[in-house]
Symmetry: C2
Subunit: 461 residues, 2 copies
């Protein structure tokens, strides 16, 4: 039922002409935010960026409270009144910009080329935040300056380092964050303009392996008599999975919840994702075959090597036996794998294979996987709004291949969550030349308006 305080405009879908000034203002906000080098892994410009976000929200009438996090402030902003309460989750921190030489324009200068906007955070997650803020401005303009639903906006600055403060924070601030549903920080639109909606996230553990055999580098002729730390790390890394990508760690798969028939059916209906990936990134080696792609992406854990470094890296050769080396890993988890248990299994695995000397360091707060059911009423409102705003049928996945701190929302707030946003398959998130399509930013603002209008009409039920 429409709420009496929020009369429905003729159509919930605003025209492009009416939306244009809000889109343009949103892109100006995005440009200003991208300029702030808020790399959480390196503790760069985090308080300044928190303040910039606070200022943007305050200017739109939000009450904003900043709370200290382990590394960066967390913000809770609140505004509006209506039949529904929407929790929005975003983050203002970004991934490191290295390797710098592979960027075609400066990473912290939002730069337009051929309909795309390039910059670190253009997509993940400053573009998402800016498009949603633009939608708030647009819906207020349609309602004489009033926001016809309650929005609770949780924005953190530690997402790219595993959200070490968030789980406890959500638990402690549960009453301030309770809502009818949560709109997650990312998502994407495919090349046909169909919104890609995920209803879950994988968990993640980030680790470093270190090996050292001497105080200093040695002449490589000693390789006949001294063990090589890079060989040891290579053997350890090789032992973690087989050539199909399946983990070889004893007990690794034991806690995995069997997928529901609904999950399996949803996966069968998903369109080909491998072809577009291949075309965009010229990927030459996939794991498994085409038919497995969506199962792997949605339902399968994965062990990935983020970096491997040690010894000589210059031109030509240097016949050295390096004193030490290190490897960075991330392990993506599915329900109900427990991150702490996985680390223990990995330690046991290394010890069993004789790699007791390899140091295992957990780098950041790990995350459990979590999912929302497709038949939740809030999910249905979001999908209907997506149909209206985009004019296309959404593509719905049981789980994204990516991770995020969804588990505390499910555990402490019990809030259904939709993962929808403005990313694109060529968006190079976490990599050089991160970008969004300018048209997706506008589509994201339009979706935000329709989604909020539908929530302003009635509480999902």
């Amino acid at each position: 039922m429409p709420s009496p305080t929020s009369p429905l405009p003729e159509s919930p879908v605003p025209s492009d002409a009416k939306l244009l000034p809000f889109v343009e203002a949103g892109l100006r906000d995005l440009s200003a935010l991208v300029a702030l080098e808020s790399v959480s892994a390196q503790r760069r410009m985090l308080p300044q960026t928190a303040q910039a976000v606070t200022d943007l929200l305050s200017a739109e009438g939000f009450t904003v409270r900043q709370y200290p996090g382990q590394v960066a402030p967390l913000l809770i902003a609140e505004a509006g009144e209506g039949p529904s309460t929407l929790l929005i989750y975003n983050h203002y921190d970004v991934q490191p910009e290295t390797p710098l030489e592979l960027w075609d324009s400066p990473p912290f200068v939002l730069t337009e080329r051929d309909g795309r906007l390039y910059g670190r955070g253009a997509s993940d997650d400053k573009g998402e935040f800016a498009s949603r803020l633009a939608a708030v401005r647009a819906i207020k303009a349609r309602h004489a300056g009033h926001l016809p639903l309650k929005i609770r906006w949780l924005i953190e600055g530690e997402e790219e380092i595993g959200s070490p403060s968030l789980a406890r924070f959500v638990e402690q601030h549960a009453s301030e964050l309770s809502a009818d549903g949560c709109w997650w920080e990312f998502g994407s639109i495919n090349s046909e303009g169909r919104p890609m909606v995920s209803l879950g996230l994988k968990g993640v553990v980030c680790l470093e392996l270190r090996c050292r055999v001497a105080d200093s580098d040695l002449h490589s002729s000693l390789g006949a008599v001294v063990d090589n730390p890079l060989w040891r790390l290579a053997a350890a890394v090789a032992s973690l999975r087989d050539s199909t990508g399946r983990a070889s760690i004893a007990g690794f798969h034991d806690a995995i919840r069997a997928p529901s028939e609904a999950d399996l059916q949803a996966i069968r209906e998903l369109p080909d994702a491998r072809g577009p990936l291949r075309d965009t990134y010229n990927i030459t080696r996939f794991l498994g075959d085409d038919t497995e792609h969506q199962t792997r992406s949605n339902l399968t854990p994965a062990i990935n090597v983020n970096g491997f470094h040690g010894g000589y890296e210059g031109e030509g050769s240097k016949t050295v036996l390096p004193a030490a080396g290190f490897v960075k890993l991330d392990i993506r988890l599915v329900p109900d794998q427990d991150p702490d248990e996985i680390v223990k299994l990995l330690r046991t695995h290394l010890d069993t294979l004789g790699f007791e000397d390899i140091e295992l360091i957990e780098l950041e707060s790990s995350e459990h996987a979590a999912r929302t059911s497709a038949d939740n009423p809030f999910v249905k409102v979001a999908l209907q709004a997506a149909r209206e705003a985009h004019g296309k049928e959404p593509v719905v996945s049981p789980s994204s291949a990516a991770s995020g701190p969804l588990y505390p929302f499910v555990k402490h707030l019990n809030v259904p969550t939709v993962i929808m946003g403005i990313g694109n398959i060529g968006g190079r998130v976490h990599a050089p030349n991160e970008n969004i399509l300018k048209r997706d930013f506008a589509a994201g603002v339009r979706f935000g308006v329709v989604f909020m209008e539908r929530l302003a009409q009635a509480k999902p039920s």
Copy 2:
């Protein structure tokens, strides 16, 4: 029989006082040579350094001819007249100085601390060259300005990149290089002051493995569906050897010549080398046990990882699936392993394991192993001179663990070769803080004088 043109001084061993001015002049030469950044892998300052060496030799009456090499000039210098002809082989190029942050003083400034002289090339090989040149000056002073033996001095600038020009050069210039014996470019003195003499060198092949799976780095959540180039390289590297260091490449050991009984006996007589190595470098992981050490060092081939690089290397974590990575390897060979055959076996090994996508690049000219027999008369003269000069019994190894372009000398010149020099176990050759002991430099000059005096007395027979 003493030659009538070279009357024997009272003792062939000069006093410390008489030697001192020659040692001091030699250290000044060394300081000037270390200042020249002749890194052959990076093509730095090679012609300048060749000219500096030419000038030093010309000043002592050597006729010096420079010949173009693939990367750096080769020099043949000749001077003196007497019953014997001594071929000396040295090189004026050095290894890269990275990692720079681990040096305690600038790598290209010869710096004295606690009786040691630090600098890139202080030992390998500018220190060796400078000590021998100082010996030439000293013996000339003892013989009224005449050099009482013929010295042919071959000095190249491509040794640290595998001497790509040398084998052909030695073949083409065989008549200019023929000699009664060859004094090789390096060697060492142990902590008891005993000269460490080797009579052979291992061969070597330097390789790079490269793997790429995409045009650009990817978000690591794609690790569920896209293969990881660092995992592939790790699995390939792990497959090359077992945890004892033994190569796992099919056919790798087939061509290895069985050691002679004399070699095995020599090895049984060698003193403990593992203890001093452990103490100097705090080595925590040796291959094999103490009893195997000398066999491994002298007679066993080895596969060593020089470097492994790809993906994120900063602080914390970056959840990226790197597009590509590379590994640098060196493989030390023993007689009669053929470097080209080893590369073919490795390619077949990779293909057999499904690593057809891993590119295999031979980085520099490879080298065959070679050895000289301990009962050669030239070897006996060298060992006797070492006994006299050092006052200690030399430690004689059938082969060094290190490599060098000895094979063309054996093949084209058929010249017996002794590997003797002024290095020390803590010399950190090829690594940060490369150094020599100042007392070893002086001992090297003294040995050079006695060795040349003995050769001036009679042709070895």
